[in-house]
Symmetry: C2
Subunit: 494 residues, 2 copies
């Protein structure tokens, strides 16, 4: 066997083991008996140890030195393996083990602190996490993965992206978002919130209908309940989850559409890439672009919500909204709120910018963990005009920092920006799309996204993936134009 073939066979088994780890996590969040947590912890740790040992196997360096790729996809696979190998090589084993140990405990400590609204209980742990991730980022930056520690952390989730470019982009977005927010909140027109009780089984049945509407492939997936919805898996087995609150059906419906977006990306990757480094979404930003365009630009569009309005009346009886146009407003109602995951499209990126600036300073050393709560609350008041009432609604609301996912937040906004670009190109290519959406059929959009974005998986860099699909280099303008037009119409601005 050639060095290339040996390396790819080894990598293929490692990818398969990583899929098993994902399956175990799915099991834990959906069907695992409540008493199995400790045993499962040992199982997951044993498998993680096996995968880590394979990813740091010294033979990878030898194979890489000798391997010759037979084609462009093979060359890209070698590059991705080499990149991961170099990243792993930057982090001393002692540091990797310490990060794994601290972050695995930190999630539980964070959850307890959030439940008790007790920042002090979380601070020592967060101090550890930040120090370790800073050390890792510095080691990676020294190895060439970014200009500084924070860049190197971002690069893990969005290869090639930098804090400077993100900061510049956010700088251009902020004034238009703030102006839009002010205009909307000052508008006389006020869409009504939804009211009523929406039974669980009926919500789940409609969630399945929504997944159908977007072309989710049930032969390679399934839908289950989870406390925090997620999608999971690759290729032949990509599962989605949702949650049900009987007074808030949009929670279930838009979580489902969001996860269907992630899942359609994974299901849409060419089968030839399966179990290779190209067989999964290329970055978190591109992944989020798929979930966001499904959820927002398509799922919250006037045409699609018009169909939903009819179906929901069929299923649940009369709704508060007087007609389809009013229902579109209800779905897109703008409301100030503390929680990022519940934010509307106008507020969402402001939540991300706050986190981006704070975590950049934490890693850069300009902000101490002790001062984070005050910094968060000051900034929130300035950006949202509201005083944070308790830590669970402030700096304790997100899991990310506890698990060491620093540099992750900006990929959410990058996903929104990419979704804006894709939506502009999609609408130009499919001028009749609204007629389909109005019939509850978003599959033409999925077909376009599959052909333009999803099928290449990890073949091209993130920005190149979007640029190839759109025919232009991604910028924030299409997103902002879309938001201003949509919310201008809903709120009667002009």
């Amino acid at each position: 066997m050639s060095a290339f073939a040996e390396l790819m066979a080894f990598q293929r088994e490692t990818e398969a083991l990583a899929l098993i780890a994902g399956r175990l996590e799915w099991d834990q969040e959906t069907v695992m008996p409540p008493g199995a947590a400790q045993q499962r912890g040992e199982e997951s740790a044993a498998l993680a140890g096996v995968i880590h040992a394979r990813r740091t196997d010294p033979r990878i360096g030898d194979w890489l030195a000798a391997a010759e790729a037979p084609d462009a996809a093979g060359q890209r696979a070698l590059e991705l393996i080499a990149r991961a190998h170099r990243r792993n090589g930057c982090i001393p084993a002692r540091l990797a083990a310490e990060i794994a140990r601290v972050t695995s405990l930190a999630q539980g400590i964070w959850a307890a602190a959030r439940a008790a609204d007790d920042v002090a209980r979380f601070l020592p742990t967060l101090r550890n996490v930040v120090a370790l991730k800073r050390e890792a980022g510095q080691a990676l930056a020294a190895g060439g993965f970014g200009a500084d520690a924070y860049d190197a952390l971002i690069d893990e989730y969005e290869p090639g992206m930098t804090a400077a470019r993100l900061a510049a982009m956010f700088g251009r977005m902020r004034p238009r978002l703030v102006a839009l927010r002010e205009a909307v909140l000052g508008a006389e027109r006020r869409p009504k919130p939804l009211e009523g009780l929406f039974p669980k089984e009926a919500q789940l049945a409609f969630a399945r209908e929504l997944a159908d509407a977007f072309g989710y492939d049930w032969a390679r997936g399934r839908l289950d309940l989870a406390v925090h919805p997620f999608s999971s898996g690759q290729g032949e087995d990509v599962r989605i989850t949702t949650r049900v609150v009987e007074t808030e059906p949009f929670n279930c419906f838009y979580s489902t559409i969001h996860e269907v977006g992630h899942a359609c990306y994974e299901q849409g990757i060419d089968a030839a890439h399966r179990l290779t480094p190209l067989g999964q979404g290329v970055s978190m930003g591109v992944h989020e672009s798929q979930s966001r365009i499904y959820e927002n630009q398509l799922g919250r569009s006037r045409a699609f919500t018009g169909w939903m309005w009819g179906r929901m009346r069929d299923i649940f009886g009369p709704l508060r909204a007087a007609d389809a146009a009013a229902f579109w407003g209800t779905v897109n109602r703008v409301h100030s709120g503390f929680i990022r995951t519940e934010a509307d499209e106008v507020h969402y990126n402001l939540h991300v910018m706050l986190r981006f600036d704070l975590e950049r300073e934490l890693i850069g050393g300009g902000l101490e963990v002790e001062d984070l709560e005050a910094a968060w609350n000051d900034r929130f008041h300035r950006d949202f005009g509201v005083v944070v009432d308790r830590p669970a609604n402030g700096m304790l609301q997100d899991v990310h920092w506890s698990v060491g996912a620093i540099g992750y937040f900006p990929t959410y906004s990058l996903g929104n920006v990419y979704a804006g670009c894709l939506h502009r190109a999609l609408r130009a290519d499919l001028p009749e799309l609204d007629a389909s959406l109005a019939q509850g059929d978003a599959r033409p959009a999925t077909a376009w996204l599959r052909e333009k974005v999803q099928r290449t998986g990890g073949l091209y860099d993130p920005a190149a993936t979007i640029a190839r699909a759109c025919g232009f280099a991604p910028t924030e303008e299409p997103l902002l134009d879309y938001l201003e037009a949509k919310f201008g119409e809903i709120y009667g601005l002009s």
Copy 2:
């Protein structure tokens, strides 16, 4: 770390990985999307490779040579690890790989042959499997694991058992079983079969009630549907499955009770043994003793079926059986039939004896694979008085031989024999048990079995495990006495 501690830590991770492999199988049989089979095959193969490499790791020999156990449980763990290590050492890597390759393909070939009723399609594969298992058995026998190849194969499922002892036991059982069968089939009294339609959701709800009745711990388990019911897992996560046929509710109910028996064994093992070689049922025979005593001696008892009769009338409406006594007969109705898994308690062991004699001859060389179908059909006609109508009702009915599980069948009858012994001792210790069973409460029996059998896991050899529980060395007599008494009463013999 001492050699003992290092070995036990290594073993613990291997046990955890083996539990993950079991979880994947559960997933495959219950919730996996239909289109995921090929990818799952690669995942399972990758994990099997990792586990195999650990089980044949050369460091195990070094650790065993240097290890000193701190206590009796540790000593037993060392013995079990050493035993597995010596067994693995007997099988050349080439042979182990070939068995894995052939048997993984053979199951699909067998299933297709059975569906097509085409013995010829299965024979080349079966010839391969038999030759490979014979070679493995001979290598194991040469290594001291039994007097001949078949003994060595039995020893894998029931350590210490031999074909000669089984043959002697079956020789003592056969005349009494045949006489009982003749008497029952010649009796004038004929219990009526159940008739009617029993809705799926109601069957599943009552299956959960049955699991409760036996003390299954839902905090460490769950119930799902599967084509072929099984139980799966150890310690904190022991799941059961059942199936539903709306015209045959006993299929669902007694599959459930049977799997609850297996699951209560695994749930009942002392927590201190978890993730050690002592943390699972000690042999297939002892495992089957638990599933059988739950299903038959307890679940099909007059007292327990009396409670079931009332509950089933509550749930499903009037039944055909006139009263609880008639219903007991319906549950225990004796009927000639081709299929082992559908056999009543009188016929069951005759099905096993047929397979035991045939597979013993196959491995010993006295019977060629080409002649197996004729031998099966001759023997079936002699033992059951019926001509096999098609191979799916004859030699193609069981999966075992295709997956290389030769030497496995006799453990079913051994389980019945052990269950007979345990039942005698249990009834002596719990004279009031029927009063509980008549209230639908079998938990006192589970408590006795947990204390006497289940909790020690792999601490004692199989026969010793049963002897310690009963206070006497296991024999077939209690089982035969029980069958003659029970079916004598139901069929009015004497």
